[in-house]
Symmetry: C2
Subunit: 703 residues, 2 copies
């Protein structure tokens, strides 16, 4: 039998179809424009590769090693050469794809499991140490094959399909049922690989398996993955850093499905879920960088290959011109039909503003695992130093990369992260730093609760640092209201600690011309406890209302749960009333944290670096409000930006907070926070609460 007998199917027809090819060929006839520039760049980049020829080594190394990296390089080259062939018609490119795939067809049948696979792993590969990489290889390579299909002889197709494409697709599906059926983002790569191979090789059963699982039960497969890996808001529980990575196989396979099984209306599936997921990924950023929650590398943002592809596909599906602003900020052109649409629209200056908005992004497949809440000022922008954003992490644990940071906040203003989340303790790919992997301090510090701007009870992390327990328990989002004058949100969790109810209410509003945040953190414990509420800040402490007792020598704050990494620099006993801390941010703006503290509160001044023999931790600083022996407390704080430090022009404006006094009055309807300003004016934020003390609505009045 000839495997290449499916004359019925047109080629290419995955992410790029024959219509796309026609328009791409026409486009590059024009000497200018983004698309032609990108195309010429591709040809220039490919030239030395085509010159030096094919390199398909026998697999030996695990991640980072030569053979691993070469096979990763190969799938990108195959894809790129396939594109170059379709647009140029130059057979040097299709020959490269053919010759490379023929070498893989020779190699693959001789491979048993990869020598570096983990002994008891459920997901070993053959070409790579884990099947995830193998699936990625196939997602790219099947597209390359599809792109050069018509240039191959029947016997060449036979050899390539029989040697590598079919056995790999079967290895990834029939031979790896656990991974294939698993509803997990690794599974998405596998189903995408097998399903796309099914389209090209005209194997509808493979496509059905990819969509509905091996048994076609619908318990697993691509549709189930869309159902379960995202909330209805398109939020992915590991957070935006992982979401943009997970998006890649989703949008790639979806586009292939759209071309091959348009009746499935895959982009409309679950109320346009995939398009929402793309938009949500963009929204979860500040100044172009993703919010650094969970194990995130903070320099990752909207300019990533995955999101460039996703935005092009989304624009093609929706024609939403605000996405062009995102594409413009990404400043990369995809060489596909969708990429061409984007490039031409940008050439024609059709981009419209993309709005960053306040939103509660619900978490969990059933939207019942809390939310990642974003409060933004009205002047927020996609990229640039305007605008303010408060991130409220009332989400689920986020699996193994999740941090113990229930109800934590991150605060951004004028281009800077002011109140910070440490992110991941990792120097990606720097060999001397634990081989570029996560550092030990990622577990011992970055994930711990004390590394976050949220409440720690008895110096213990949420869920006692137990991920499994964390995965079972999420906060409850009680409130998210946006009105003309303010944004109110509120969430609670009673499972982070046994017998302790944590509740946080946040209100963002304009206070005499500046966007501010009111933060009300309620703790109710069954027993008297030590309550710590840290504020990790970027910048220099410029002024405090407290009288700091400074330590003549530094000791770690404690010996576990992240506290062992904090030096105690000083302590203050501010006494009852208003306590203020003003920080000069790296953007030369001032930020004052004003809080109303009970008489017995202490403030601890700490910085990272203790028990860090390898200098693995980045230097960070925090002040921690501590209340000892308290069964309950309400922490009421205001975050206030003000003024400007301009040493270059030798002026300083409003270095002092405008907050002169704060007061909280509680009655049966809720509570009112009064904020008196130094100019004599006063604002009141009245928060209506239900019988259980849940904040329901808020009102701002100023006089």
């Amino acid at each position: 039998i000839s495997y290449a007998s499916s004359a019925a199917a047109a080629h290419p027809n995955l992410v790029i179809n024959t219509d796309d090819v026609d328009t791409m060929r026409q486009a590059v006839d024009s000497p200018s424009g983004r698309f032609t520039v990108a195309y010429n760049d591709l040809l220039t980049r490919l030239e030395p590769i085509i010159e030096s020829g094919v390199d398909v080594p026998v697999p030996v190394d695990s991640g980072g090693g030569y053979t691993h990296e070469q096979h990763k390089l190969n799938y990108r080259l195959l894809y790129d050469a396939g594109i170059a062939f379709q647009v140029s018609g130059d057979e040097r490119y299709s020959d490269f794809v053919r010759d490379t795939l023929l070498e893989y067809a020779e190699l693959y049948p001789n491979l048993s499991l990869h020598p570096k696979h983990r002994p008891n792993a459920t997901n070993p590969g053959r070409l790579f140490w884990q099947s995830l990489n193998e699936a990625v290889w196939l997602v790219y390579s099947i597209q390359a094959y599809d792109l050069v299909y018509n240039s191959l002889s029947s016997s060449e197709r036979d050899r390539i399909e029989a040697g590598v494409l079919r056995p790999m697709a079967l290895f990834l599906s029939e031979d790896s049922p656990t991974t294939f059926n698993k509803v997990h983002n690794h599974g998405t790569w596998v189903t995408a690989a097998v399903g796309m191979t099914g389209f090209v090789l005209d194997e509808p059963l493979w496509v059905d398996r990819a969509l509905y699982d091996l048994e076609l039960s619908g318990e697993g497969g691509f549709l189930k993955q869309i159902d379960e890996l995202f909330s209805s808001d398109g939020y992915y529980s590991e957070g935006p850093y992982y979401q943009r990575y997970a998006l890649m196989p989703f949008v790639t396979f979806a586009k292939a499905i759209e071309n091959n099984r348009p009746n499935l209306r895959i982009f409309e599936y679950r109320d346009n879920l995939l398009l929402k997921a793309i938009d949500t990924t963009i929204q979860l950023s500040y100044d172009g960088l993703f919010f650094g929650i969970n194990d995130a590398i903070k320099s990752k943002g909207i300019v990533t290959d995955e999101l460039v592809l996703a935005v092009a596909i989304a624009y093609s599906q929706t024609g939403d011109r605000s996405l062009l602003s995102v594409a413009d900020a990404q400043d990369q052109t995809i060489l596909s039909g969708d990429g061409l649409l984007v490039a031409q629209a940008l050439d024609d200056n059709l981009a419209e503003d993309y709005q960053m908005r306040s939103q509660a992004f619900l978490d969990g497949p059933n939207d019942d695992q809390g939310a990642l809440v974003v409060l933004r000022s009205n002047d927020s922008v996609l990229v640039g130093s305007e605008g303010q954003a408060l991130v409220f992490k009332a989400t689920s644990q986020g699996l193994g990369h999740g941090h113990f940071d229930k109800l934590s906040i991150q605060w951004f203003d004028r281009g800077e992260e002011v109140y910070t989340d440490y992110g991941a303790a990792r120097f990606l790919n720097i060999e001397s730093k634990n081989g570029g992997r996560y550092l030990p301090e990622n577990e011992t510090y970055a994930k711990q609760t004390i590394a976050h701007n949220t409440l720690v009870v008895n110096e213990t992390s949420h869920f006692d640092g137990d991920v499994k327990l964390g995965n079972l328990n999420a906060p409850t989002l009680n409130t998210f209201n946006v009105s003309e004058e303010l944004v109110l949100t509120s969430a609670t969790i009673n499972t982070a600690y046994d017998g302790v109810l944590l509740g946080r209410t946040l209100v963002s509003f304009d206070l005499a011309g500046e966007s501010v945040v009111l933060d009300i953190f309620d703790v109710e414990a069954e027993t008297e406890s030590t309550l710590d509420l840290p504020v990790h800040y970027n910048g220099q402490l410029i002024n405090t209302s407290t009288d700091i007792h400074s330590e003549p020598s530094l000791q770690p704050l404690s010996d576990r749960n992240g506290y062992q990494h904090l030096w105690l620099r000083g302590t203050a006993q501010p006494g009852a009333g208003l306590t203020q801390h003003t920080v000069l941010g790296e953007n030369n703006r001032f930020y004052t944290h004003s809080s109303i503290l009970p008489d017995r509160a202490q403030v601890l001044y700490v910085e990272t670096g203790a028990n860090d023999p390898d200098f693995n931790l980045v230097h960070q600083q925090a002040f921690i409000t501590r209340i000892q022996g308290a069964a309950q407390n309400r922490f009421v704080s205001l975050f206030e930006p003000h003024g400007e430090y301009n040493p270059a022009k030798e002026y300083t404006l409003e270095a002092s907070s405008r907050v002169a006094a704060m007061d909280v009055i509680e009655d049966e309807n809720g509570l009112t926070v009064y904020i008196s300003l130094t100019d004599g004016s006063q604002c009141a934020v009245a928060i209506a609460q239900d019988a259980a003390g849940i904040s329901e609505s808020a009102e701002l009045t100023c006089e």
Copy 2:
């Protein structure tokens, strides 16, 4: 008698003359172009001022207070309104100048010494607490008067001149002989004020006094100031931060002299000294910011009013189109004849590249007080992150703002300060930080030797921290050679410590494609001493060849001379041979410091923050090579940039140093440093030395 009888003099004729006015008026007829834009900005800015009227309060406050700031604002407004009048002819502006000056004419005769003047000061003012501000007021206001002169009635002129201009000029000269005759940059403001007033009021004697001192002896006055406040290279001994400030009265008065006494050829005086001083100020910057030596605020740079004016005047004098690149980077337009020339040349795209160069800027009026030496890579630029610069501070003390930093270095690469100088411990104008003045830590840390990248003997600062002693003793610049392949410089000082000779030789060259610096620091002491050589770095310590013994709790390194502000984080005993420290810079580039250490050397890892109860110090880190009980040592080190950390694109290139081994061989001709690279190649830097061990020339060979 009528004071306003000098019909002979044309008005205006100080920085702006009547020809200038003609061309400026023509220029603003054009609706576009930089000059018109700046002019319209001025009118917009002035509008509310003209509306709200004159405010000339009775002097009460010292610096920062209301009356002080208002009088400062007034002289700028007077000047601006004078310009607006000359260009527009609109009498609302001249009326504002007239009315303001008439108010000053009413006020000034009633003023005795300012209520806030310092009791025993030699330089009290009447309008301000010190006469320096008063001189600045007059420099601006006499120009304003000159600009509106022709619009005033004879009686108005009489009142203004008799009420304020004449008495102030006499107060600043005859009544303040010490300050007036002093060869000091405050004196320059005073002589400029009096001399310019002399021009406008046709008082040639005042001009002569300004030029030659009160007694016309030539021992003081403006010419003597040009002779003595700069070296022949136009270097000002307090450093570039102060140099740009000092420039203002020099260039302003010089321009007035050029218009009124052109035969003096003031810009050619002392071999074009003032033009050289302007150029030197520009050269003493990296990425647009001045080298942060001495008490410098590091965010100050070429975009300052003083240097904008200076560049415009220099361009007008020389027609040097490379200055237009500087003006373009400054992006400010001066509303003067010179400013117009610059604006029109920029509009016409006439700017040529301004070259940043390696140069030894000799210090001292007789060029015999060492030098500030700058070694630059060939790709250096005025503004931007290209290029590398090494700053070698082999200068004189620099008076009261000087630091005890003989032979210290600062190293810049790709837009970052990699090996750092702390600069000034000061938050300018931030009230909560010691009233915005220098912080106590400026004396106790920032000025001390240990805060610098130079050698400390026995934990004591140079000159034992005695400024007077420092002012008497400068290093000797022995060598500065630039060749095609390398730049060599060498300086020594034997007065920083009794009985200790310090000598440093620096060579910058290309090592396998990267600009590197070879650093050879020789110490010869009469007695066994503790030798500390710190490297203060910006960034994260990524890799060390040492095995660091980390401290479980932190103690200050010592109790005085700056050491009391350093926490000791850890110690290493690297043993003999190559010791390496790799830092990841904030520009995501790697920097390896490789050094050859003797067996007994220790490395101390420190950071700022000890004995800093008010959080006044900015966090900084250093590693200090310490050799105890040594009478002499040669520290040989290589500074090497390499690779790139790109977590956004998920790749890391060359995170490891390419230096595999270093070796030093000494013979009777000098010494040769052999550098073996990891790729097997080797380079040798052969430094020829004279009998006294002074480095004379160097040669690079690679194989």
